[in-house]
């Protein structure tokens, strides 16, 4: 909820097979008055859709709108390939920040990760190279079942300080932030 009494609804879209140099992630943002009662995204977590997304002009395009939507036949589609480990993803963040230093957070993608514990209430995303980034503490309970699970492929928000997992492909199915 925002100070202006608007509820901000964010829907993250991940491109299943992004063309080179095209954004792989889009963020749909809707605002609804808090006075209107409970509101939720028109999509459910993990939903697959076929659509054309147009992006707001930006040096680092992220926020988008659905321009056209076509029926999607496949209920579950293959999870896209991501670079292995954290360094490439964090480098992507640095590049984005160089172009747009004021962004609050940026979606990153990486595979071959594991969820690890840094302390009782602090989880981290880690890779085999010994790199790790702390995960937002509000997600500790929700992500505890991913502890001890084999390598995962993840889409997460990174604000330079902590990661917020948005979705992950794991050996026992997909996990989604809801």
């Amino acid at each position: 909820m925002q100070p202006d009494k608007l509820r901000r609804l964010e829907t993250w879209l991940l491109h299943a097979a992004p063309p080179k140099d095209a954004p792989a992630v889009a963020l749909l943002i809707d605002f609804v008055p808090v006075s209107g009662g409970a509101a939720s995204s028109p999509f459910f977590a993990g939903e697959t859709l076929s659509a054309e997304i147009v992006f707001y002009p930006s040096a680092t395009p992220l926020r988008g709108l659905i321009a056209t939507r076509t029926p999607s036949s496949a209920e579950t589609i293959k999870w896209p390939e991501f670079s292995a480990g954290l360094p490439a993803a964090l480098a992507d963040y640095e590049n984005t920040l160089a172009r747009q230093p004021w962004i609050d957070y940026w979606p990153l993608r990486a595979s071959a990760l594991t969820i690890e514990r840094q302390s009782a209430q602090q989880l981290a995303l880690a890779d085999a190279g010994g790199h790790s980034v702390p995960i937002e503490r509000s997600q500790t309970d929700a992500l505890t079942p991913l502890l001890g699970l084999g390598p995962i492929s993840a889409l997460f928000m990174w604000d330079g300080t902590s990661a917020t997992l948005l979705a992950a492909d794991t050996s026992i199915g997909r996990w989604h932030e809801t």
Partner: protein, 477 residues
């Protein structure tokens, strides 16, 4: 820029807010640390200088990150080593719909029944759903397999954290489990071998804290016999009052003692064949098989004390025991319980649940269902009680009786005729009917609730979907 942070988080927030809203709407206040730099570049718009410098700080200054990670906890490993397959995806979706749609007041009980249904079909919950479901099911030992216990050990209390994470509870490892599991295990062992289960408890009794001792001791109420008396009587001098109280209660309930026999005799005298009733008259003239059984409470159970007196008198007795003492069958005793009684019904129910006596549970529930129809009361409480007591869905016979009962039909009619949002809400009859019905009757139940509004029957439908998805053999992983 120096390595220490020049702009505070508040400074940065104000700069961002001004830029987002527009400087005309919220004029930029140049943060104090940037005043000299903005003044030095007087030829430029100070807003651009501030924006650039704030961006540079945002880009290059990061708080130090904690390094290193701990070893994967054993409980996390065990969570994923549960040998049961994860429930099918269709069942998982239905379970989550149920969790989101069920009335809060029923949530714990319904989700526990649902989780037991999942476990009974040999599946386990999806690990990713445990954060959503665990609070509702953790009080019911029957819902907690290895994965669920491991998740609790990872997230919950110190007691849970120190528990043994073996797949099965056995006589060798039972003391490493949480209290609710130990109590359930002791009861189960008592059903099989009362003496060896008591010996199991005696071996560890003194080392347990008072509250645990009392609760474990309470599990001896299953299979209670005179062999238990020496141990129970030795506890009259236990240091904890709670333990002494439980022991005294159990001593009074031991069959074969004079106190027990006197109480049983008094309770049995409440039930008698009446030759004065219509059934009795028909019997005397050869037109009926047996005279009707009537109930007459003892003189001490009258007025405001009736419920308490009857509860005390019938505590621990089964309908079969009372029947045997009165020369009646258990069915005759159950049929003779007055419609408005709760005390005797509760006593028989507790005993039947403790003995895992499903047939008697059904008979008692059927009697209560009939009483609910007669008294125009909702069937929800009796169905909720039955669902909690049963380890499997009810029998086909009971299911037919339920769907044809006056209480169920009245609930359907009331919901169909409802005109206000409050009246359209399921009072529990639908969801609990879905929870107790055997699978073959679920399609017929769905047909009966078809005319109702989706919001009224959402949770009941979700339960039906779950039960049907669990039965689909091709989806088993």
């Amino acid at each position: 820029m120096p390595s220490s942070q020049v702009l505070s988080a508040q400074d940065l927030g104000r700069v961002k807010q001004a830029m987002l809203l527009g400087l005309a709407r919220q004029p930029l206040v140049i943060p104090d640390p940037l005043q000299p730099l903005a003044t030095a570049a007087a030829e430029r718009d100070p807003a651009l200088t501030v924006l650039a410098l704030a961006g540079q700080q945002h880009r290059f200054q990061r708080p130090p990150q904690p390094a290193g990670v701990e070893q994967v906890p054993e409980a996390a490993r065990r969570l994923h080593q549960d040998p049961r397959p994860i429930l099918p995806e269709a069942a998982r979706r239905a379970l989550l719909r149920l969790a989101n749609g069920v009335e809060k007041v029923w949530a714990d009980a319904i989700l526990s029944v649902a989780a037991r249904r999942v476990a009974a079909r040999g599946f386990r919950l999806h690990p990713f759903d445990l954060p959503r479901l665990i609070a509702d099911i953790k009080a019911d030992a029957r819902c907690l397999g290895l994965a669920e216990r491991a998740y609790l050990a990872l997230t919950a209390s110190a007691e849970a954290a120190g528990t043994v994470l073996d797949n099965e509870i056995t006589r060798e490892n039972w003391m490493g489990f949480q209290k609710i599991h130990r109590i359930a295990f002791l009861r189960s062992e008592r059903r099989k071998h009362p003496a060896s289960a008591r010996a199991l408890l005696e071996d560890v009794f003194k080392s347990e804290p008072a509250n645990v001792r009392g609760d474990l001791l309470g599990a001896l109420d299953v299979g209670l016999g005179v062999d238990d008396l020496p141990f129970l009587e030795s506890l009259a001098s236990d240091r904890a009052d709670s333990v002494r109280t439980v022991a005294a209660r159990l001593v009074a309930a031991v069959p074969g003692t004079p106190a027990f026999a006197a109480r049983l005799s008094e309770a049995a005298r409440c039930f008698a064949r009446s030759n004065l009733s219509v059934g009795g008259i028909l019997n005397r003239i050869g037109l009926a098989d047996a005279a009707a059984v009537t109930f007459k409470p003892p003189a001490s159970a009258s007025g405001g004390e009736r419920h308490t007196s009857l509860a005390r008198l019938f505590e621990g007795f089964s309908a079969a025991e009372i029947g045997a003492a009165a020369g009646l069958t258990a069915s005759e005793v159950i049929a003779a319980i007055p419609c408005d009684d709760d005390a005797i019904h509760a006593a028989f129910s507790q005993r039947a649940a403790r003995d895992d006596d499903t047939a008697t549970l059904m008979q008692l529930a059927e009697a209560k269902l009939t009483a609910a129809g007669t008294n125009s009361r909702t069937a929800a409480p009796v169905l909720a009680w039955l669902a909690d007591a049963l380890s499997e869905p009810a029998s086909l016979g009971f299911g037919h009786c339920l769907l044809g009962s006056a209480a169920f039909q009245a609930a359907l009619q009331r919901l169909q005729e409802a005109e206000t949002p409050a009246a359209m809400k399921d009072d529990g009859t639908l969801i609990w009917t879905a929870a107790v019905l055997p699978t073959p009757l679920l399609p017929s139940f769905l047909a009966k609730i078809e005319p109702l509004l989706p919001a009224t029957s959402r949770a009941a439908r979700a339960f039906v979907d779950l039960a049907l998805a669990l039965e689909a053999p091709t989806q088993r992983r």
